[in-house]
Structures are given as C-alpha cells and as structure tokens.
Symmetry: none
Subunit: 209 residues, 2 copies
DNA sequence: GCGCACACGTGATCC
DNA sequence: TGGATCACGTGTGCG
C-alpha cells in the first residue's frame, strides 16, 4: 500500500482505481471475444464450460494437425497386400464426335522394385499410349501406381471396328501390366516372404529411372 | 448480502467462503493448464499474451481447417498457368525422437517437356532423397508434379545443426526445382508463345523416360 | 508515476 | 443448500 489513513481513498487513488478496473474489463472482453469466436468455429460448443471448451479446442487442433499432415503425405490409401491390375476406359464425352480421344485409367499394385516405373513407361510407349497423369505410392516394399493414359489419335482403328479395337487395346494394356507386375510367374521362385522382411529390405525409390 | 452485523463473519460463513475461493482457484488452474497446452502446441507462443495467444489459436485453426479440407478434396488438379515451386517440411511427430524421418513435399509447376521427369529424378537422387509418392499431371503443355520425398537417415546432420541443415536442405531442393523448371532463365529465348500454340504442340508424355 | 498483464477473492446466478 | 460457473474489482509485479 502506498499511502493510507483510517477512512477512505484520496481522490487521485479513486480515479486511478476506476481506470484500472476499466482496463481490466477491456482485457476480459478481449479474451472472452476470442473464446466466443472459437466457440463459433468448433461444432457443439455452444454454452459449454470455458475450460472444457478449451479442451475441445486442443483436441480439435490435434486432430486437424494430424489430418492436414497425413493428407499432404498420403492422400490415397495404402498399397494393398495382394497384387491387382485394373483397367478402365474413358472416352472423353461420348457425344462429342470430333476429337476421338480415349483415356485409359490403368492401376497396378505389386511389390515395388527399382525398374518398375521404367518397365511401365516402356510398356505404355510400346502401346502408343501417352501418360497424362500418374499417381504413385511406394510403402513398405509395396507399390500402387495409377496412370491416366491417352490414345490421342485412333487413326489406325477409326472406322468400323472401333469398339472391337478398344476392347483389344484394353486387354493388351491389362496383359502388359500383368507381365510387369509379376515378370516371373510360372517360375518356381518362392512367393513366401514375410511382410516384415520386405519392409526391411525396401528402400526403393519409385523414381529411380 | 445474506446476513451481516457490524463486525466480522460467522464461522460457517468464513468456512464456506474459503471453500468457495479454493474451488475458484481450481477452476482457474484448469483453464490455465489448457492454455499452457495450447501454448505448447502452437509455434512461437511462448510467454505471449493470453488474449493474443487465443488469437493465434483461432488463426491456426482456420489455417488447418483450410489445409485439411483442400487436401481431402484435391482442389488443385489443373496445372496453373504461372510457374511455381513450393517446398514443405514434415518431420513425423516432433517429440518422437527415435526415428528421425523427414518428409518433404515438393511441388513444381512449369511447361511440360520430355526430359522433365528424368531431370527431377536426377535432382532428387543427387540430394539423396527417395521418392515415396508422386502425383504428376500434364495438360495443355503445362505440368504440375507433386512429390513426397523422404530423407531416411539424417546421420550426417543429426546433432546440433539439425534445424539449420533442414533449412538448407529445403533451400537446396527449392533451387534444384527452380533450375529444372526454367533451365534457360537469363538467356534471351523468347518467353512469348501463345497458350494455344503450346497446347497444339504438346504431346509430351510425363513418363517418356 | 503509468500501462499492462496476471492471480486472487468475492458476490451473483443457475441447476 | 451446495456445487459449479461467471464477471467484477482489486492487489501486485514488471518495464
């Protein structure tokens, strides 16, 4: 205490005290305003305890952090444990007859190895397919690659048997991918290798060229 | 006031008051503990105003929400018209000290050309970075490629200057990508070519090897 | 002295 | 009435 006598406050003290309380009120208002904002942007927090509200904020920040991080590092599911090849045809706009562009979505899941991408590129090149889009994942020795391929000009197969040639093209792509996925099928190389071992062994890059 | 006489409090009143103040203290402690937690999980908020801390929390939640949302909706499929290079570091869980794995999200947008992917792979290889995931788009002569790179073992830079070496690694990747994006900057090759022309000319494959 | 930010105790209020 | 929460004024320390 700076100065005091028995009775009340001096005039200056009273005024200072008032200023102080007002400042403190403004401070509380700032904090509470921010709290209200948080309450608005987080679901199911209307009329909830100030403390538990903060708990939910923490929880939400954690969750969003995980979500954002994992979304930037892997936006597609993990490579499946079983080998798969899938082909889809997409003729861009069925009625627009002018351009005759064919898109193929080819997906392959298999064990990863250094020459995988190169082999695939080679296969596509041999089929006169252009890779417009590619999505590749390599994890734990497994790879899952998805390609959007484009057959720009169906000149050679334009006329009558277009539909038939489409099917054969599709089948050709499937076989090519299957060959790449397991080059030595029919050979007796043991397919039994633990997942753990594969993970330990695998430090392949999907872009080893 | 419930009851009062001139002098002091009754014994029961005093005890109740004490209980009350203790409860209030506990409440404050809970709130402050949560605030401390938030302060820990948001960068650069050590000894910062309680109010401004909450402001940063709001800001962070907004940012993370946008990030997570746009990452799940994949809202940037088309290559932008302007050249861009962006690098992001992701150390997997800052506190889990054991594994020391570093992920880098590197994104490049530029004119497409046959050797682009090969150049990028070469650059990453030179920086001892493994490509764990790749997402490549080629459309209308423009390319937008996103890579998740992995620096498996920071053996050489583990100790003191880890943070600094991270920054320098990030900068190295950025410069490498910039070089690949526009190899002949500073030369006088005319940058003026119509978008239309580029589209007509471009039949590149992003996997031409 | 002044401004700022914090913790504390207290009265009011609502189940 | 008892427990829980809130807003308020005040005391106190730091630049």
């Amino acid at each position: 205490m700076s100065s005091s006598s028995g009775s009340g406050r001096s005039a200056t003290e009273a005024r200072a005290l008032k200023i102080h309380s007002e400042a403190e009120r403004r401070r509380r208002e700032r904090i509470n305003a921010h709290l209200a904002t948080l309450r608005r942007m987080i679901p199911d927090t209307r009329q909830m305890d100030k403390a538990t509200l903060l708990a939910r904020v923490i929880e939400q920040v954690k969750l969003l952090k995980r979500k954002a991080s994992e979304a930037t590092t892997q936006s597609t599911p993990l490579p499946p444990e079983t080998d798969e090849v899938s082909i889809e045809l997409h003729t861009g706009d069925a009625n627009a007859g002018a351009d005759r562009v064919i898109y193929i979505r080819a997906s392959i899941s298999c064990d990863d190895r250094p020459d995988l991408v190169a082999r695939l590129a080679q296969a596509f090149h041999g089929l006169r397919l252009r890779t417009v889009r590619a999505d590749m994942t390599s994890l734990g020795g497994r790879a899952r690659h998805v390609f959007i391929l484009c057959k720009d000009e169906g000149r050679g197969a334009a006329g009558v048997g277009a539909s038939a040639s489409l099917r054969s093209l599709k089948e050709a792509v499937r076989q090519a991918l299957a060959r790449v996925a397991s080059p030595e099928t029919a050979y007796g190389s043991s397919p039994f290798q633990s997942k753990r071992q594969r993970i330990l062994d695998s430090h392949y890059s999907i872009m080893s060229i």
